[in-house]
C-alpha cells in the first residue's frame, strides 16, 4: 500500500511511514509552497503518513 498526495489535479504516490516534509521532498514539491490536509484537517510537516492516506495539498502561492 502507498500514500497518495494530490496537488492541483496531479497525483503522486509515496511509501507510508515517512513524514509529510520528507514525502514532499520526494515528490519534488517545495514544502513552503503548500499546506497538507488529511481528512479535511490541516496537518503539520512532521506528521507521519500512513498506509492508505490521501493527503490533499493546498497550493498557497499566488501572484501576477
Amino acid at each position: 500500500m502507498t500514500v497518495k498526495f494530490l496537488l492541483r489535479g496531479k497525483e503522486y504516490e509515496v511509501k507510508a511511514g515517512m513524514t509529510v516534509r520528507h514525502a514532499l521532498e520526494k515528490i519534488g514539491v517545495e514544502p513552503e509552497s503548500v499546506l497538507a490536509t488529511r481528512g479535511g484537517e490541516l496537518i503539520t510537516e512532521d506528521e507521519v503518513v500512513r498506509e492508505g492516506d490521501i493527503i490533499k495539498l493546498v497550493a498557497v502561492i499566488s501572484g501576477g
Binding site: E30, L35, T37, I43, T44, D46, V60, S62, G64
Partner: protein
C-alpha cells in the same frame, strides 16, 4: 507536534518563529499579531474609516475577516476586471467577495471596469498593448487608480491591501535585482498620503507568510478563489517566490529577515535618493485629479482616452455598487 500554548495537537508550524499552534490558538494569534503590526507601523486607528481592497482571494478576504473581528470600521472594494480565462475568473471571485460581505453584513463597493469605461481589462490591453500579450500592466494601472479614486471620493482615511510577506519579499527581490531605488524607497507597510488626491495605503499582513494566510482562510472556513488568475502563469513574482521559498526551506526565517532588514536599512536612509526631486515634480492630472509625474494627463487617463466613446468622468451611483 504540539501546540505551544495548550499542548494539544498542532495544525500549523511556523518554523521561522519556532512556533506550532492548534487551530484555536493559531486563529487567535493571527488576529493579535495583525493588531500588533497595525500599531507598530501606525497604519490606522479604530476611529478611522478603512477601505479593504478585496479580490476574492485568501489574503484579502482573510484581512477583511481579521479587521471585522477586531471591530474596525472597514468596508470593501471589489474591482471587476472582466477576466474570464475559461474559468469565469472575475465573476467567480466577485461572487465569493460578495458572499463573504453578505454573510457578515459588510458593505462592498463593486467597480465594474467594463460598465465604467466600456471595455474589460483584457480588451483595454489589446487596444493599448501596454503589457504586450498579458494585461498585468494595464490591470495594475487600473486597479491602483480605481482603488485610490474610490477611497478618496468616498472619504475613507486609509486603503488596506492583503499583501503578505511573500508578496513583499518577491517585489523587494525584483527591485533589488534591478536596483530600482525609487521603488525601494516607496516600499513598506504604510505608504503615506503625501500628495493631494492620494489615499494612505497600508498592508497589515506584510509580516505573515503566504502559507500562514492560506491556513487562516482554511481554518476560518473562508471560501476563496483557489484558481490562479489565468494571466499569472509565468509571472515574475511567482518565479521570485519560488526562489525565496527554496531558500526558506533550507534556512527558515530567511524571507522574514530579508524583508525586515530591508525596512531597517530603508529607515536608516540607505535608499535616500533623487526620488525626492521626482516627488516634487508630481502634479494633479487635469482630468482625474490624481497625482502624476507625466506632463498633462496621467497614464491612466491617457489609456482610457483611447477607448472610443469613453466617458472618463466621476461615477454615478450605478457604477459603484454599495
Amino acid at each position: 507536534m504540539k501546540c505551544r500554548k495548550c499542548g494539544v495537537k498542532a495544525v500549523m508550524n511556523m518554523r521561522q518563529h519556532k512556533l506550532a499552534l492548534c487551530k484555536d490558538h493559531y486563529l487567535e494569534w493571527m488576529v493579535a499579531q495583525t493588531q500588533r503590526f497595525i500599531e507598530k507601523y501606525h497604519m490606522f486607528t479604530p476611529q478611522e474609516r478603512i477601505l479593504a481592497a478585496v479580490s476574492g482571494g485568501k489574503d484579502s478576504l482573510s484581512l477583511w475577516d481579521i479587521l471585522w473581528r477586531s471591530e474596525y470600521n472597514c468596508d470593501g472594494i471589489y474591482i471587476s476586471l472582466g477576466i474570464d480565462g475559461g474559468v469565469n475568473y472575475s465573476s467567480e471571485s466577485q461572487k465569493l467577495a460578495q458572499k463573504f460581505a453578505d454573510e457578515r453584513g459588510l458593505k462592498l463597493h463593486v467597480v465594474n471596469i467594463k460598465n465604467l469605461y466600456g471595455e474589460t481589462v483584457p480588451e483595454i490591453n489589446q487596444r493599448t498593448r501596454r503589457g504586450q500579450d498579458k494585461p498585468c500592466s494595464v490591470c495594475g494601472l487600473i486597479k491602483r487608480h480605481e482603488m485610490n479614486r474610490v477611497a478618496r471620493d468616498e472619504g475613507y482615511d486609509v486603503l488596506v491591501t492583503g499583501h503578505n510577506l511573500d508578496d513583499e519579499a518577491a517585489v523587494l527581490f525584483g527591485n533589488i535585482l534591478t536596483w530600482s531605488t525609487g521603488y525601494l524607497l516607496r516600499q513598506g507597510p504604510v505608504l503615506g498620503a503625501d500628495h493631494p488626491g492620494l489615499a494612505r495605503k497600508a498592508k497589515p499582513l506584510c509580516r505573515f507568510y503566504e502559507r500562514e494566510m492560506a491556513a487562516y482562510a482554511i481554518l476560518r472556513g473562508i471560501e476563496y478563489i483557489y484558481d490562479e488568475c489565468p494571466f499569472a502563469e509565468g509571472a515574475k513574482s511567482i518565479y521570485y517566490k519560488k526562489i525565496l521559498n527554496n531558500m526558506e526551506g533550507d534556512r527558515p526565517g530567511v524571507k522574514l529577515s530579508f524583508y525586515l532588514s530591508f525596512l531597517q536599512a530603508r529607515d536608516s536612509g540607505l535608499f535616500a535618493s533623487p526620488v525626492d526631486d521626482e516627488a516634487k515634480l508630481l502634479h494633479a492630472c487635469p482630468t482625474c485629479g490624481q497625482p502624476t509625474s507625466a506632463p498633462g494627463d496621467c497614464t491612466f487617463c491617457r489609456t482610457i482616452a483611447r477607448i472610443p466613446g469613453t466617458r472618463n468622468e466621476p461615477l454615478s451611483d450605478s457604477d459603484v455598487g454599495g
